[in-house]
């Protein structure tokens, strides 16, 4: 079996938002829509304070709450772990947005150019009417993964088959891969490091793992 997941090393992330920007480029998301972004989290009280940068987005859950509530079956879980949205089936009811505990889904109802005064050439080039009025979210760059499979590339290893955020990360904090493959870098990182998943207590089985310390 294959289970694609994202492994985030919190010791490495500096919150630079390069992944956020790379995602926006690759997926041509409109202003205000960030399928991948990084939280700037402060904890404690002065002077005992910590500041941590936490990349977030769709967690591609094992048991996606968004799938359960979808009335049209637009949201589906693939066998390889990716949670997808069929824009042709989505009616934009936004149940999924409410159900998602990770605040990962977006819906825009109209084209909004970055400068609000007509589209720039890149916006015109990448405009996708199918995404208006429907739920959207991180796809783990599914087109790259599928392309990779079709051309003998390994997702998480070959850039053309790897999500743009992981490709772009300047701290090597994001590692994408098949965690059912014991030889993948993602699997190795999970074996060697302590990790957690966000809101795991909800039983969603997130496909996003956060490393925080080397195993003793």
């Amino acid at each position: 079996m294959t289970r694609y997941a994202m492994v985030v090393d919190l010791r490495r992330c500096v919150g630079c938002q390069t992944c956020t920007a790379a995602c926006k480029h690759t997926n041509a998301t409109p202003p205000g829509v960030q399928w991948r972004w990084v939280l700037d989290v402060e904890a404690g009280e002065f002077p005992d304070v910590t500041r941590t940068f936490v990349p977030v987005g769709c967690q591609h859950c094992d048991e996606p709450p968004c799938e359960t509530v979808c009335p049209t079956t637009a949201t589906k879980k693939r066998a390889d772990g990716l949670v997808t949205i069929d824009y042709d089936l989505c009616i934009g009811c936004a149940y999924c947005s409410v159900a998602c505990p990770y605040n990962a889904r977006y819906k825009v109802t109209r084209d909004t150019p970055a400068y609000g005064q007509g589209k720039m050439p890149n916006e015109t080039q990448r405009a996708d009417p199918a995404r208006i009025g429907v739920a959207t979210k991180c796809t783990f760059c599914v087109d790259r993964i599928d392309y990779g499979h079709a051309h003998g590339l390994v997702p998480g290893v070959d850039p053309d088959a790897t999500p743009a955020c992981a490709n772009a990360c300047i701290a090597s904090a994001l590692t994408f891969g098949d965690i059912d493959d014991p030889d993948s870098k993602a699997s190795r990182l999970l074996r060697e490091n302590e990790h957690f998943r966000m809101h795991e207590e909800l039983g969603t089985g997130p496909g996003f793992f956060y490393l925080w310390e080397k195993k003793q």
Partner: protein, 913 residues
């Protein structure tokens, strides 16, 4: 150019050098002729130190290209009145009209004389971003070189926003215009406010992330607010602003007086520093009368001998009776017979004895126990005696480093902190050795692309240094440019970078009032500026605006309208990053954390056609050269290498004919061929088409070149630490020259020239300087206002890009004034409230962002905003500290810089939105 999958689109290789931490390599994705995305250049994965990645700023380049607010055709001003509230009345004009207008001015100047009545160049130019505009302005450097004297002393942030003291003292002590850890080998890093995760670029982030996780490096971040870097560090020590020198002195005290001497690198101190040099009664070295070489006390012979006598064991510490010659300032000679002398190290011990952790605690608000702990951890990690093999050569291995942030480096206290940092490295033998505190670049010494070659033998066993003269005969009494850099700052040397590293605010201050016994201040007849916005980025920005408004003829290379080109006479729209053509030298060691195992060149090529009527900078430069009658010298300057690579070398010659106006592609084709030949000793001569396809070409760069230590060993040289005899001498001589000329307004700066830094409470000194000049009471300004770099914006000139604004907002502090909640509560301020922040100079407004990660006595304004013309940015409503910081002589240190800090008050004036 490559066609790549998965979408079958074209990807074009180019570079990003928007910040000083570059250049980095990238690819632009082109769909149907439109740039749609930026990606890493994975072709460079094995070449580039960060495996071909680029940071978030590079992803702004697509919007930068298509931004609807760009200036897309030449414009001229129609309203002769200049002022913030005057509409310039810009109207479109043809390129011919724009260039002919400028050329007519330039020809007129050549006919009148290149210098004005005060001896200042009639043409001035300013560039921003720590030299990065050079990577985008094609052959314009050749035009400047062909012109003759150009005043580049009007700063746009230099001295305040840079690492100024480090640039000057770093180059003196270890050819380190920039200082950084040997990150891949370090195990313990003391960072005094160095926000490396925001300002170190892709390579900095990449290397430090690996160091944290793979090497287990411990980084202790000592700074008043918890920066991005503090968040990524093992420990945060919230020190009181601008008291770092006290903390560092105390750490040195712990190392010298609370630990066994054997914990220091005695061999390094004895043989690679001036620690054993004997100091004579007047404070200068005791010298051999015949050779004038400094003397040391040889423990084997029991007598004073010259420092380079073979097979000696020089005493590190102690009082001795010796005879010799003492050379005082201005060559005054004193002969000593049997006088009491002390080693430089002994002088250091005397100097540091009283700086206990308990003493420092009262100044910097860091517990004495923390200071002790950190100093001892530093020693624990130093691994005295350890070695490492680099490319077959065995070198000392000292995995401890100390780094300094810009406000620590700048202004009063900068000398002290740079000295203390360098000394801390010397005490454990960690200066410019693997694992230690090392340098990356030279800008004041020559050659600029090779630190090792720039380290030539000088006097007293030290490296030579190109001090500006301070002796009676050669002191440059009449300033050559308006910031008087070579007249006032011997350390600033005389390279192409020296103008920008002088006291650049003096050029602006002189526009308001002249200085006594100095030439009459004048305005440049023509001022060019590019990729800089000093009306936003300097201090006391309204004063800068006032000065610019009086300049008679201003030519602005413009991307959008902005606060400085608001005062321009001509706007010239150049091709931006993804539209222009240029070749750039890459690799080696440079800037913040760029340590490559390769060196070579990269091409910036048009990924998309130029928008509107924008023109390639090389075309603009050639046309200006042609129309102003200096084409011949312009082409010769290109041939010499003014555009980045000499066109003639030992095995090749692609020189341009002096009298011909070449096309853009012709010029860069010649540069491409020359670059290919330079890299291969003439074996290759790939032209522009090859470079367009491949993007870059490199050869290996020896890792031994990362470290200066082996080069010094080979030359038998020493680091000039701890005692600053030369600094002391030139300071005394400079003072005499200034006083002989009737100048006493630089006296405060002269106090910094001490052989060992004289401690001051710089926090107190700065507050007193501001209030005594501008009025007010101490208690009226209870907060310190600081700033911090933003990776998303720093140096990028990208404030008008929507996407950058959007993603930067995810990082706290980009939308207001960061304040401690406990301090806010006392003033009835809540998160999001509108507040007024007031310095003794003026006030600004913004929204409060409450964060626990800041001292209660400190406020923070990230980045530099406060725009009032720049499209998009003018609607941010985010404050900047720049308008609140005064330009004052009393805030200026001996190197000509001042710190980005000002005392302020804060009060609530409105509720949250």
């Amino acid at each position: 150019m490559t066609v790549s999958n998965p979408q079958g689109t074209t990807k074009i290789a180019t570079y990003c050098y928007q910040c000083v931490a570059g250049p980095d390599l990238l690819k632009v994705k082109i769909e149907d002729g439109v740039a749609t995305a930026i990606e890493p250049n994975f072709d460079a994965e094995d070449v580039h130190p960060a495996a071909g990645r680029v940071c978030v700023k590079a992803f702004g380049l697509v919007q930068k290209t298509y931004n609807p607010n760009r200036v897309l055709q030449p414009m001229k001003r129609t309203n002769p009145k200049k002022g913030r509230h005057e509409d310039p009345g810009f109207v479109p004009i043809s390129w011919d009209e724009a260039l002919d207008t400028i050329a007519a001015k330039l020809r007129g100047i050549r006919e009148t004389g290149l210098l004005d009545a005060s001896g200042y160049p009639r043409v001035a130019a300013s560039f921003g971003g720590g030299g990065t505009p050079t990577a985008y302005m094609g052959t314009f450097p050749a035009l400047l070189a062909a012109w003759g004297p150009v005043d580049m002393s009007f700063g746009s942030g230099q001295g305040v926003k840079c690492y100024h003291s480090e640039h000057l003292y770093g180059e003196l002590w270890h050819r380190a215009f920039i200082v950084c850890p040997d990150t891949p080998r370090s195990k313990y890093i003391l960072s005094f406010g160095s926000n490396i995760e925001a300002s170190g670029g892709v390579c900095g982030v990449w290397r430090h992330a690996a160091a944290r996780v793979e090497q287990g490096v411990k980084r202790v971040q000592i700074e008043p607010h918890l920066s991005v870097t503090g968040g990524c560090s093992a420990e945060w020590v919230p020190i009181k602003p601008k008291t770092d020198a006290a903390c560092m002195h105390a750490m040195i005290h712990v190392m010298l007086f609370e630990n066994a001497r054997s914990r220091l690198d005695i061999d390094f101190l004895k043989h690679r520093t001036a620690s054993p040099y004997l100091v004579a009664p007047n404070g200068f070295y005791l010298r051999d009368p015949d050779t004038r070489k400094p003397l040391v006390w040889d423990l084997k012979a029991g007598k004073a001998v010259v420092f380079d006598t073979p097979d000696i064991d020089p005493a590190l510490d102690g009082d001795f009776i010796a005879s010799g010659l003492e050379v005082l300032p201005d060559e005054e000679l004193v002969t000593h017979e049997g006088v009491a002398v002390r080693s430089a190290f002994g002088k250091l011990l005397d100097h540091e004895r009283s700086f206990t952790p308990e003493w420092a605690q009262g100044i910097c608000d860091v517990p004495a126990a923390t200071i002790r702990c950190v100093a001892n951890e530093y020693l624990d990690h130093a691994e005295i005696g350890a070695t490492i093999e680099i490319e077959g050569r065995t070198l000392p291995y000292r995995p401890v480093a100390v780094t300094l942030g810009k406000t620590v480096n700048n202004g009063w206290g900068g000398y002290d902190c740079c000295w203390a940092r360098t000394l801390m490295a010397c005490l454990v033998g960690a200066l410019d050795v693997p694992g230690g505190t090392i340098g990356t670049a030279v800008r004041l010494n020559r050659p600029a692309n090779d630190r090792q070659s720039s380290a030539k033998p000088g006097v007293d066993g030290f490296m030579d240094y190109p001090f500006n003269p301070t002796d009676k005969e050669n002191w440059i009494s009449r300033p050559q440019i308006r910031n008087a850099n070579r007249t006032l700052v011997p350390l600033v040397a005389n390279s192409a970078w020296s103008a920008a590293l002088g006291p650049t605010h003096l050029a602006w201050m002189q526009q308001r009032h002249g200085f006594e016994s100095f030439p009459e201040p004048t305005q440049p007849d023509v001022w060019f500026f590019y990729r800089t916005n000093p009306v936003i980025s300097f201090w006391d920005t309204p004063q800068v605006a006032e000065a610019v408004a009086k300049f008679p003829f201003v030519v602005a290379f413009s991307y959008t309208r902005d606060e400085t080109n608001h005062f321009a006479d001509i706007l010239l729209p150049d091709c931006t990053d993804l539209e222009g053509l240029q070749m750039l030298r890459i690799g080696g060691t440079k800037y913040v954390e760029q340590f490559w195992d390769h060196q070579g060149f990269a091409l910036r090529q048009p990924a998309v056609p130029p928008q509107g009527e924008t023109r390639d900078f090389t075309w603009i430069s050639t046309e200006l050269a042609r129309r102003s009658g200096i084409l011949d010298t312009y082409n010769k300057a290109i041939n010499r290498g003014a555009a980045g690579v000499p066109l003639k070398g030992p095995n090749y010659d692609f020189s341009l004919q002096p009298d011909r106006a070449y096309g853009v592609e012709e010029i860069w084709d010649a540069s491409c061929r020359a670059a290919s030949a330079e890299l291969t000793e003439g074996a290759e001569d790939h032209g522009l088409e090859w470079w367009k396809e491949h993007g870059f070409r490199t050869i290996e760069y020896p890792r031994l070149q990362w470290f200066l230590y082996p080069h010094l060993v080979d030359l038998g040289l020493r680091f000039e630490m701890p005692y600053q005899e030369r600094i002391s001498r030139i300071g005394e001589e400079l003072g005499r020259r200034l006083h002989e000329s009737g100048i006493d307004w630089w006296d405060r700066q002269l106090t910094e020239y001490r052989p060992l830094p004289e401690f001051h409470d710089f926090s107190h000194l700065i507050k007193h300087a501001v209030i005594s000049n501008l009025g007010g009471r101490d208690e009226d300004f209870p907060f310190w206002l600081l700033t911090a770099r933003s990776m998303q914006y720093s140096w990028g000139g990208n404030v008008s890009l929507q996407m950058v604004r959007e993603v930067a907002a995810n990082v706290k502090g980009h939308r207001g004034v960061i304040m401690n909640p406990t301090a806010a509560r006392k003033l009835g301020i809540e998160d999001g409230d509108l507040v007024e922040v007031r310095s003794p100079l003026r006030e600004t407004r913004g929204r409060v962002v409450l964060r626990q990660g800041i001292r209660p006595d400190t406020l923070l304004m990230v980045g530099q905003f406060d725009h009032w013309i720049t499209p998009y940015a003018k609607d941010f409503d985010v404050p900047s500290m720049n308008a609140l910081v005064p330009m004052l002589m009393d805030l200026t240190d001996a190197t000509g810089s001042a710190a980005d800090i000002v005392p302020v008050s804060i009060k609530r004036i409105g509720g949250a939105q």
